[in-house]
Amino acid sequence: MQTPATKMTGSQIVIETLIEQGVTDVFGYPGGQVLFIYDALYQASDRINHVLAAHEQGAAHAADGYSRVTGKVGVVIATSGPGATNLVTGIATAMLDSVPMVAITGNVPSSLIGKDSFQEINITGVTLPITKHNYFVTDVNDLADTIREAFQIAKSGRPGPVLIDIPKDVQVAECDFIPQGVVEAYPQDEVSDEAIDQAVELINAARKPYIYIGGGAASVGMSQDIMALAEKIDACIGCSFMGLSAIPHSYERFLGMQGMHGQYASSMANKEADLIIGVGVRFSDRATGNTAKYAKGAKIIQLDADLAEINKNIPVDVGLIGDIASSFSRILQRCQPQSHPEWQEQIAALKAEGKRISDLAEQKATVPLTPKKLFDAINAVKDARTIIATDVGQHQMWTAQHVTFEQPRRFASSGGLGTMGYGLGAAIGAAVATGDRTVLITGDGSFGMNLNELATAVSYNLPITIVVVNNGVLGMVRQWQTLFYGQRYSSTVLNRKTDFVKLAEAFGACAQRVDTPEAFRKAFEEAMQHDGPYLIDTIIDMDEFVLPMLPPGGSIEDMITTKEQGANK
């Protein structure tokens, strides 16, 4: 039986279509050109939850964080003009990390479009390069199908953000609405048998296989097959930054992140491998360093949903474009079981060397609370379900190096765009989505960018533990200045007098300051039990480095593993 059509306004259609598409939570900020949409939200508030952010950027990051931990399409709503432009960084962040998102903006009435009206901006023009697609809706009759198509595009193939701009008169106009089912993603190409065979041939011939997983593998959720292949062909597994949390870190074949700040063993094994099986990775510059020297001795197989990623950054021997999970499981079935004891010995030696390097650095530490001790405490206290969000900088790379993930979709961090100020919004989105304890690891620089969202975390009493890794400087930039700019610390010494404890308290959150491993552990345990947001201002030494490091444009031979070595660069 067909559902009868109901006459509705554009605004009601927006909300009803969101509900129809399975949306239960939206993030946003009201304003003049979305008043009607907010009115419709109010009337549907028993069926859809709206989370009011402190700033549209925070709302966009929250929708992004919500999506990363659930796999659902994140939804954000903002008004025209500044509301819409405030979304831009959030949309770009989602674009670079392939996060499915639908952003809905109001615009001035059609009769005022193009006249530089109050709060008018051509947001479809602005977001053209940072969305998978965008829409300017001119007819209320197209509205529901446009929103459905936006969801379909957002979640199909390589996911990403889609923006829908709706002028106010379209929000008011009426038409018939018939609810439909949740749209399915567009089907992906099936990889040919010949291509799969080519990949299998390379795998069967390999002696040192390295399975290299990225954000694509993490979002598809194929960890079981990846570990099964590693077992079958006696391979190790490494990941890009975006691939963290796809494989349980306790799995012995998992070497962790490789690349600019990768784990020593993972980066070295990537270099030594004679076969790299890239799964949903785009071989970004941060992962490869100098592409002319990257993995010269290795054959490369690349599986990706996005055809434009094959051969984009690194020429590959076999490119498999389409559904990566399906291609991967076909490879798994067809390849021969193998044993590579020499490769495993080599990996064991690399792991031992990696540990020796990091232990050595730890022994030389002059202050008690080193980043490693900080993260050891976090790992000891958190559980497998704890969500980790970060901002961008040294604390983010330390998180990537030290935090152990045991379940997929427990990590939200801006990889591709590197958005400082991303973390708190993302943590809010993740906490709203799951209700699970969410730890935001941030720096004093990053936190300063969007700390206004503390208001949101407090308003909704979200279970967010905020660890401000506070070194009083913009640590990552400073590290580069130390290494490559003759220690000329241009604008990286903050010299601020911000008291993060008082600040958190002023927002209505609990907080304390610590500077020893013992005090941190105690505070962190307390924070993790606390009902609501809790900030720990964690004082560390400004001269801590993120190591190892491949200098920008350098290759693995240029790896810096100690501060002393860095000083001689």
Partner: protein, 163 residues
């Protein structure tokens, strides 16, 4: 640097040309010509682009184009199996010395004089880009008042169609 001709079938909707041309800008591709027009089905337009670049640039461009939601088909036209045409309107001073030269050139190039004034003549030249370029060289010494070219339209020969 090789020259390529790419045909793109797109939905005939608002903003499509911006999306396609925006791609060139942000991926750093340099296009030589771009033409666009409605097809027999008014729901679709066909864009023809000519550009120079290496194999890498060509592959990237085609793959990035395929990702655009409004782009339905993309095809690299095979140079040895493609007819290309472009049209030029070119205005030349109408002086006693020029007159016979222009008329002779128009005759030989099978061009048409489509406007004849006391001060200028306007010639319509149609052909492949090489012919158009050659005509420009011929009339350059006579003085060119102004000119405009449509850019290339192209189809593959025989039954070859875009899939």
């Amino acid at each position: 640097m090789k020259r390529y001709v790419i045909a793109i079938y797109v939905e005939n909707t608002y903003g499509v040309l911006t999306r396609v041309s925006g791609l060139f800008m942000r991926r750093g591709f340099n296009i030589d010509t771009l033409t666009v027009g409605e097809t027999d089905d008014p729901a679709y337009s066909r864009i023809t682009i000519t550009l120079g670049g290496d194999d890498y640039a060509r592959e990237q461009l085609i793959n990035q184009l395929k990702k655009l939601h409004n782009v339905k088909k993309v095809k690299l036209l095979q140079a040895d199996n493609t007819v290309e045409r472009e049209m030029m309107l070119i205005k030349i001073p109408n002086t006693p010395e020029n007159r016979s030269e222009v008329m002779a050139a128009a005759e030989i190039y099978r061009a048409k004089i489509i406007d004849y004034r006391t001060d200028t003549m306007c010639v319509e030249v149609t052909g492949d880009p090489a012919k158009v370029k050659a005509f420009i060289e011929v009339v350059k010494p006579l003085g060119i008042v102004e000119m405009c070219r449509t850019g290339v339209v192209a189809l593959e020969r025989s039954g070859s169609i875009m899939e």
